[in-house]
Amino acid sequence: MIEVQHLSKRYGRVTAVDDISFKVERGEILGFLGPNGAGKTTTMRMLTGYMPPTDGRAIVAGFDVFDQPIEAKRRTGYLPETPPLYTEMTVREYLQFVARIKLPKGVSSADRKARVDQVMQKTWIADMADRHCGKLSKGYRQRVGLAQAIIHNPEVLVLDEPTAGLDPKQIIETRELIRSLAGDHTIVLSTHILPEVSQTCQRVVIINKGRVVAIDTPANLTAQLRGSSGLYVQVDAFEGDAAAMLARVPGVLKVTPADRQGSAAGFEIDVEAGRDVRRDLSREVVGSGWGLLELRPLRISLEDIFLELTTDEPRQEPEVPADA
């Protein structure tokens, strides 16, 4: 549905986007993740035909965004970082204007009105229909922006930080709305909020300094970067004894005391890769007459992956022996 091939954007000497390629399948939600200034917005702007790339191309719904811009734009809905609202118009007037410029020529004005009403229902803004856009709260602005993006029922939706600046309740509602739009629409959304990605997206593109550093499902990314798997155990016992005992369980590599509340002691345990020691571990703890309070795998969050991939510490690379 979306195909981005070797897309680059340079402003003078500054390279904002550097040779990005990815594909999005029909009905998928793709998360675009990166720190501020990584090139997310620039990529989205090229994808929506707002600006041409310096190199490479983008194909949306079968149309090259730069060779057939009108066809591509007809099939794309775009919510920019700041919702593009005309403050002096009411919500209804605004959506009617957008419907006029975005819906195909044959659509009658009655159908246009019906579509506007339908979209306002869908994005929960019907109660604000006659309010001026300039007087809306941030949450409503965002939703009107979303309504504007989906009004022509586009195959592709590009959402630039759709939940930025919303309160927690609105964030949850917006995410639900986005999820409900997937299926009918193929969605690319950018964010720098990590839980959002694991909650809404099927696949993630992490970009940093204009380059793609990883593309995968959130689950795979987590798995890949976890390396050897770890466990967290909390037992009701004296710390020293417990640590020594836990270390004796076969497959355990290392036991690190993590926290302590009263007589309950928590440990983080490194385990040999590919070996499940939970049964042995629990039997050992209970057999010793202690209470097993908690036992769970330690997960690396997307946050850790993100930091790992995007922080600037030089990676340790194997030294290449110099040819004599």
Binding site: G49, P52, I70, E81, Y86, T87, V98, R100, I101
Partner: protein, 254 residues
């Protein structure tokens, strides 16, 4: 065309939803009225004097309408920048330009829409002054054709100014900068014929041909000369063409 009209309608709505339309129309009507009043007073005094000497009568068209239009054309220098300064600047500042440029619209449709919207407000502004003309027809017996020619001239000159204003508004996010720069350029286009005086007759002929206001006097007199029609129409076309180029180049720069 449907898209052009949609944009033009949006522009007009924008003008009338903000104070701009009312300020511009009120300001223009007020100044036009003051000039009207002054010329009418002078005209009546002179007519009276001439009648006293027993020699003929004054011509309303030549002695009242023509200088009135001449002054109105100068007022446009101040008023048109107020109309055009927001056209692109405001869209860029508020980010709504992203909506227009990612909608299935061509640049030409957007530019023409904005041009027609501004022209619509300008026409409304001119329409208010018809009231003064109605007074002339009620009290006197002027010839309507030169007046119509004068309005055609005002219309063409205003349209030329609007084309330039659109171009300048596309160059900045800041309305005030756009407005001031537009005013400066208009002034330059106006006085360019004076500058030529030191450069000999040939240069001066070229510069005064370029001066936007030099071409207006014939219209004010009631003469529709194709030379001036061509000048204004090519001026408008060129202005809109440059705006299109500028929109395209801004897109590349992001």
């Amino acid at each position: 065309m449907r898209n052009v009209m949609a944009i033009a309608g949006k522009e007009l709505r924008g003008y009338f939803a903000s104070p701009i339309a009312y300020v511009v129309m009120g300001f223009f009507a007020l100044l036009f009225g003051m000039f009207f009043n002054a010329y009418l007073g002078a005209f009546m005094q002179q007519s009276m004097q001439m009648a006293g000497f027993g020699g003929g009568s004054m011509n309303v068209n030549m002695n009242l309408v023509r200088p009135l239009f001449g002054n109105a054309s100068v007022v446009l220098l101040f008023v048109i920048p107020m109309i055009t300064m927001r056209t692109y600047s405001e869209e860029k500042r508020s980010g709504t330009i992203e909506l227009l440029l990612t909608s299935p619209l061509t640049d030409a449709e957007i530019i023409l829409g904005k041009f027609l919207g501004a022209l619509g407000l300008y026409l409304a502004m001119l329409a208010v002054t018809l009231l003064y003309m109605a007074i002339l027809f009620w009290a006197g017996n002027p010839d309507w054709k030169p007046i119509a020619a004068g309005y055609l001239g005002l219309f063409l000159m205003g349209a030329s100014f609007i084309a330039v204003g659109l171009l300048i508004s596309n160059l900045t996010k800041n309305q005030i900068v756009a407005g001031t720069a537009t005013f400066g350029v208009f002034l330059l286009l106006w006085v360019v014929s004076w500058i030529g005086e030191g450069f000999g007759p040939r240069v001066q002929a070229v510069l005064s041909y370029l001066s936007i206001i030099e071409h207006f006097d014939d219209f004010a007199k009631g003469v529709i000369d194709t030379k001036h029609l061509v000048y204004y129409l090519s001026f408008i076309t060129f202005g809109l063409f440059l705006t299109a180029k500028s929109v395209d180049s801004e897109r590349w720069r992001g």
